[in-house]
């Protein structure tokens, strides 16, 4: 491929492509965990991201020159754009140039995880056959960074790396251990070595998820997952929801109390977790929570996620609670949600409650477990993640890649639809 700069390329346009690609990569990453965004939302972002990456690619050498300094600033979106461009230019030297700044990363720095996660997102964009080839090539390298990325590449594409997984579980770098633990849980592979003493919360979180897949639901493992939620912002919501789903009613109440005894910033996790339980008895409690600025949005999410309520269609939306005219909420992960007006929602529930039976678990308004496959097809991203993992607790196989490029997800989902999940 010719990577020279065509004469008609304008630098300011290419710079805009680089900035937009980096911004959209970060936005897309957040959207994969959004409480309201669906695959359609993600597809639109993917299309925009692809277009800007194509712009960078078409700019040839200039595109690379502009993406490269952005990489040095090490914001996750910029890491994604540079590495994806390096792969798309199909020049191994560029890939090596893109990886060079990663050599200097400090394993103890929390930003390291974000930058390496962004690299994995770029690797997820590789066509699967290329990913297998590149992943295996890196796994044959002695260099720890390339080896770790090789492991992450295979696992991101749900390929069993065989004996290399064991090496990853005991790797000195925390990010690599987390990748290996996550991979083992994603694929449902046994990981005998204990991780309960591991200093990295993400490693412990995925170790517990893996244990649930291997050994079935155990209250202790579920409670450990809930306790790890606040320590892992990226996977905390998922951990809490799965943790809650495996607990008895008494233990759920105790877990909620434990969360409310902790940092107010994490109180929202109680509502997010209650979605995992799926029992409509929590709906009145969620309605009470709507007025609370700390977790009102999470309660709105919980209500929609449990009942399938469309607040827009029902006219239940109001503004956030304010103090001196200023919104006073803390819960950033739920900002995409609409605030539900407590009194109107109460009235709506009074009319609707008869459609739900206490103890009969639901997700998105449909009874479990049938709702899991339907949610995976058409639900919002946060619920799709929960549905994919809960299906993984019920069945063998790989956890569905709900964060993969949407064109690929849709191709896979046609197989699920073919099995009659949408009927």
């Amino acid at each position: 491929m010719n990577t020279g700069t065509p004469a008609s390329v304008r630098e300011e346009v290419v710079r805009q492509h680089a900035e937009e690609a980096a911004f959209l990569a970060q936005l897309r990453d957040q959207t994969t965990r959004s409480p309201v965004a669906t695959t359609d939302t993600l597809a639109r972002l993917d299309a925009r991201l692809d277009a800007h990456c194509e712009g960078l690619r078409n700019a040839g050498a200039l595109g690379w020159e502009i993406a490269q300094p952005a990489w040095a600033t090490r914001l996750p979106g910029e890491c994604f754009a540079a590495l994806r461009l390096a792969f798309e230019l199909r020049e191994w030297d560029r890939v090596e140039q893109a990886l060079a700044p990663l050599e200097l990363l400090d394993d103890a720095d929390p930003d390291t995880f974000e930058q390496l996660d962004a690299c994995v997102m770029a690797l997820a964009w590789l066509p699967p056959t290329n990913a297998i080839e590149i992943g295996n090539w890196w796994l044959n390298q002695a260099d720890p960074l390339r080896w770790s990325l090789g492991l992450a590449t295979l696992l991101e594409h749900r390929i069993d790396p065989g004996a290399q997984l064991l090496r990853g579980l005991a790797h000195p770098a925390a990010w690599t251990r987390a990748v290996a633990r996550r991979g083992a849980a994603l694929l449902g592979l046994p990981a005998e070595a204990s991780a309960s003493e591991d200093p990295c919360a993400r490693v412990r979180l995925f170790a517990n998820l893996g244990r649930l897949r291997q050994q079935g639901t155990s209250p202790e493992t579920c409670e450990a997952l809930i306790d790890l939620g606040p320590a892992c912002p990226r996977y905390g919501d998922l951990a809490c929801a799965i943790g809650f789903s495996g607990l008895s009613a008494a233990r759920v109440d105790a877990a909620i109390q434990r969360i409310f005894a902790g940092d107010p910033q994490h109180h929202r996790l109680a509502h997010v977790g209650a979605v995992g339980v799926g029992d409509p008895i929590y709906i009145p409690w969620m309605i009470e929570g709507l007025a609370n600025p700390n977790y009102g949005l999470a309660a709105s999410y919980g209500l929609s996620a449990l009942t399938g309520l469309d607040p827009d269609a029902r006219g239940l939306i109001c503004g956030p609670p304010t103090s001196d005219g200023q919104p006073e909420y803390l819960e950033e992960p739920d900002l995409d949600c609409a605030w539900l007006e407590p009194a109107a929602t109460q009235a709506w529930w009074a009319e609707t409650a008869s459609e739900f039976s206490p103890g009969r678990r639901v997700m998105f308004g449909r009874p479990l477990p049938d709702a899991l496959r339907l949610t995976l097809i058409a639900g919002p991203q946060r619920l799709r993640a929960l549905a994919a993992w809960r299906l993984g607790l019920l069945r063998p196989g790989a956890i569905f890649a709900y964060d993969a490029p949407v064109a690929r997800q849709r191709r896979w989902l046609t197989h699920l639809r073919a099995t009659g999940a949408s009927t």
């Binding site: 004469a7 008609s8 699967p128 594409h157 993984g392 019920l394």
Partner: protein, 293 residues
């Protein structure tokens, strides 16, 4: 640099890019369409112009024809080429170039309140472009096929006070649809050279209301000048290229596409394209993981 010089620069860039894409440096026949506005037209004699293009882009044009016209001229040239070209004839490179980033054009538009400014939202944003398309009789799986073509005149122009009922656009569309043997309901996408003026949007809406003979779903409307501004004569070929690219990339809503062009003096043209099918992603044959579902 005045617009008349900039159009030459734009043309050189577009021709160099076409040569790269088509992997050739020689074109037997080239028809160049530019604006007939005195300040925007290509003002070089043909032989020196061909030599300049050769020197600047390395592209040799063995035969060059220059046509000065308006936004619909490319469709008219396309219509003529369709009639002229016999199977097996050498392909013809159709180039269009224009720049509305010209002080006289903008002053004139501003005088008639047609230029988008801080105080006038009902106006166009001037842009400039050159676009080249290869017209050939040989079918290709990656090229669009011209399925129908219609040209008509709209008596109620943008500067006219007569009631505007989109008669010109409707007649052009009817002629094109009749030639293609398509119904309005068969169309998947309308690509219009809308520059942002209310008149043009009204015209599309009226045309959509007048055309169908039966109830049909709404049609997607794209207006590429949203991204690169109003580019005058070059808007038509730019829309044809976008249509082809969108279909090949799999992001067009379908393969039956309508491209419309509007000239201020009243000319209207419609080109119906049957775009190529989307290129299959190479990973379609990759194995599907054994998901837990």
């Amino acid at each position: 640099m005045p617009a008349a010089q900039r159009v030459i620069e734009l043309l050189v860039c577009a021709l160099a890019q076409s040569a790269r894409q088509l992997e050739t440096t020689v074109f037997d026949r080239c028809v160049l369409v530019c604006s007939n506005a005195p300040t925007r037209r290509v003002r070089a004699d043909l032989d020196p112009l061909a030599q300049l293009i050769l020197d600047r882009s390395g592209v040799q044009l063995r035969s060059l024809e220059l046509i000065c016209g308006d936004e619909t001229s490319c469709a008219v040239v396309l219509s003529r080429l369709r009639a002229e070209l016999e199977p097996g004839d050498e392909p013809v490179l159709l180039c269009a170039v224009d720049s509305l980033v010209d002080i006289h054009t903008m002053a004139q538009a501003n005088l008639h309140k047609r230029l988008r400014t801080e105080t006038n939202g009902d106006g166009f944003i001037p842009g400039e472009a050159a676009a080249c398309v290869l017209v050939t009789t040989s079918p290709s799986p990656t090229a669009s096929r011209v399925a129908g073509l219609g040209v008509a005149h709209e008596p109620a122009t943008i500067l006219d006070t007569r009631p505007h009922d989109a008669r010109g656009m409707t007649n052009a569309a009817r002629a094109a649809l009749a030639e293609a043997g398509w119904r309005f309901a068969d169309l998947d996408l309308w690509l219009a050279d809308l520059g942002g003026e209310q008149y043009e949007f009204n015209e599309i809406a009226l045309c959509c209301a007048r055309l169908p003979t039966e109830r049909c779903p709404s049609i997607a409307l794209w207006h590429p000048s949203e991204y690169f501004g109003s580019v005058g004569v070059a808007a038509g070929p730019a829309a044809w290229m976008l249509a082809t690219q969108a279909s090949r990339g799999g992001w067009a809503p379908g393969r039956r596409l309508l491209c419309s062009s509007t000239a201020a003096a009243g000319a209207r043209s419609i080109v119906l394209l049957e775009a190529p099918t989307a290129e299959p992603p190479s990973e379609r044959l990759d194995p599907v993981p054994r998901w837990a579902w």
